[in-house]
């Protein structure tokens, strides 16, 4: 049996068979919550291959755009460094540091460039969030 199918099956058993048979409030809630958690895990695992492909393509496009912006304009050195590090490492921590650098150098960037760079990152994050909400909401 496919592991994801198995998780969903267990979640359904907990919700429809185990939970209703439990008399006390707390363990019944726990059975229901176990069902919810396993259901969400199953959803996350089922979506993972497609989401992973989308995330890679999106990151390629995002960092290409940011690196192009870094090359085209006179950006503060710390911002350029953060763009390069984020493009290289592709981690949440590095993307977070880039966002922090944009805010830290907001005055030097000016309103338009700050909004353009942060807006491009937000565009990618919005797409990522939409994927995460497929199994979180």
């Amino acid at each position: 049996m496919d592991p994801v199918d198995l998780l969903e099956r267990i979640a359904a058993t907990l919700r429809h068979d185990v939970g209703p048979a439990v008399g006390a409030d707390y363990p019944r809630t726990q059975a229901y919550m176990a069902s919810v958690v396993l259901g969400k895990l199953a959803g996350e695992l089922r979506a993972q291959p497609a989401h992973s492909r989308a995330a890679t393509a999106e990151a390629d496009a995002l960092y290409a755009d940011l690196q192009a912006a870094a090359r085209a304009g006179e950006l503060p050195r710390a911002v350029v460094g953060a763009v390069e590090a984020a493009a290289r490492e592709r981690s949440d921590a590095h993307l977070g540091r880039l966002i922090e650098q944009l805010y830290a150098h907001r005055d030097a960037l000016g309103v338009v460039r700050f909004a353009a760079l942060l807006g491009r990152i937000r565009q990618a994050l919005k797409a990522r969030l939409a994927r995460e909400l497929e199994y979180s909401a």
């Binding site: 919810v36 949440d92 993307l95 966002i99 944009l102 805010y103 994050l125 919005k126 979180s136 909401a137």
Partner: protein, 345 residues
């Protein structure tokens, strides 16, 4: 509600007997352990005894630190007890505090004992609770009492009450920046990866922190579900875990938030917006600043993300076996989606 373990009941009775040395034939009745809330264990019971030839009776509420509570780092029971002591002589309805014990030899972990205040506290997220608040709103007394209690809190002389031990923000933007720093530390303590949208939100909050020119006692979670109601009036403001000295708009924003109502336009399920504005402003002399409240809605999004990250971390590292905490890992994106919309994503 559940019946507590027999061992707990015996130990509570023995403790009370020690605290009431003149009491004879002490007995406890109606012992209940309330099964709501993730932060502290709460026991309600009625004690009766004979003293000086008379029969006496008193209801008590005991809160015990479960050792792995959400928010434990932010507000321990000792601080809660001290806040209740400070508030006891004020006009704000709160439970009278009796004793605080940090000796784990007594009940296993620190605990406080306070007055069992008459009243009920329906869960605003359930069908029955919503019906209760809708009916109370229609009668008109509770909306006024709910608003008045907040106005009373925001009008207290908190220095005279001795509440400055909570920490007093400096002028200008200090209050908001302190709150951001507090919740940022809370997030970092989980050790979990920070979602970049949360980073964006924290940076935005720091860049746009509003100035605050009037400091009051701020409850931090003032809504139905955190107040006791008796005969349609607030008989006690509860859940003193997030209180600070700060911007009163922080509480007002919480009341205005649509996160604290369900299936109704009534603020906190109980009061019409116009009524709340008029009554609160008249009672406090404080004009409600909706722009500032909007800012605090985003700060609450950060706080919610911090709650959920901390809760799921408690489960992940084995500090709690409560699966409700495990489930909160998936609540973070839901909170961030709301914040992202507010930020203009």
């Amino acid at each position: 509600m559940n019946a507590p373990a027999a061992d707990d009941t015996t130990r509570i009775r023995d403790y009370l007997a020690a605290r009431l040395p003149g009491a004879r034939d002490l007995s406890l009745a109606n012992m209940q352990q309330i099964a709501v809330g993730w932060s502290h264990e709460t026991f309600l019971f009625d004690a009766s005894w004979r003293e000086g030839g008379e029969t006496r009776a008193q209801g008590f509420c005991l809160r015990r630190d479960p050792g792995n509570a959400l928010l434990r780092e932010l507000s321990d029971l000792g601080e809660q007890f001290r806040v209740l002591e400070c508030l006891a002589p004020t006009p704000l309805p709160t439970p009278r505090p009796y004793w605080y014990e940090d000796d784990p030899a007594i009940l296993g972990r620190p605990f406080l004992v306070m007055e069992k205040v008459p009243g009920e506290c329906p869960n605003p997220w359930g069908r029955e609770g919503r019906a209760y608040y809708a009916a109370a709103a229609a009668r008109g007394v509770l909306p006024a009492s709910f608003t008045d209690a907040l106005a009373t809190m925001h009008s207290l002389d908190w220095r005279a009450a001795g509440l400055d031990f909570l920490g007093v923000p400096g002028p200008g933007r200090d209050f908001a920046l302190r709150e951001i720093a507090k919740w940022r530390n809370f997030i970092e303590a989980t050790g979990a990866a920070v979602h970049p949208i949360l980073t964006d939100l924290m940076c935005w909050l720091e860049a746009n922190a509003p100035a605050c020119d009037r400091l009051t006692l701020v409850h931090g979670a003032y809504r139905t579900g955190n107040v006791l109601i008796d005969d349609d009036r607030i008989s006690a403001v509860l859940d003193w875990e997030l209180q600070v000295i700060g911007d009163p708009m922080y509480d007002v924003a919480y009341v205005l938030s649509d996160l604290n109502r369900e299936g109704t336009e009534l603020l906190s399920n109980v009061v019409e917006r116009e009524t709340f504005f008029e009554r609160y402003e008249a009672a406090t002399g404080i004009a409600i600043d909706e722009d500032v409240c909007h800012y605090y809605h985003l700060l609450y999004a950060m706080r919610s993300a911090a709650f959920w990250m901390s809760a799921s971390d408690l489960y992940a590292r084995g500090a709690s076996a409560d699966l409700r905490l495990a489930r909160t890992a998936w609540s973070v994106p839901v909170v961030l989606e709301r914040a992202a919309r507010e930020l203009g994503y």
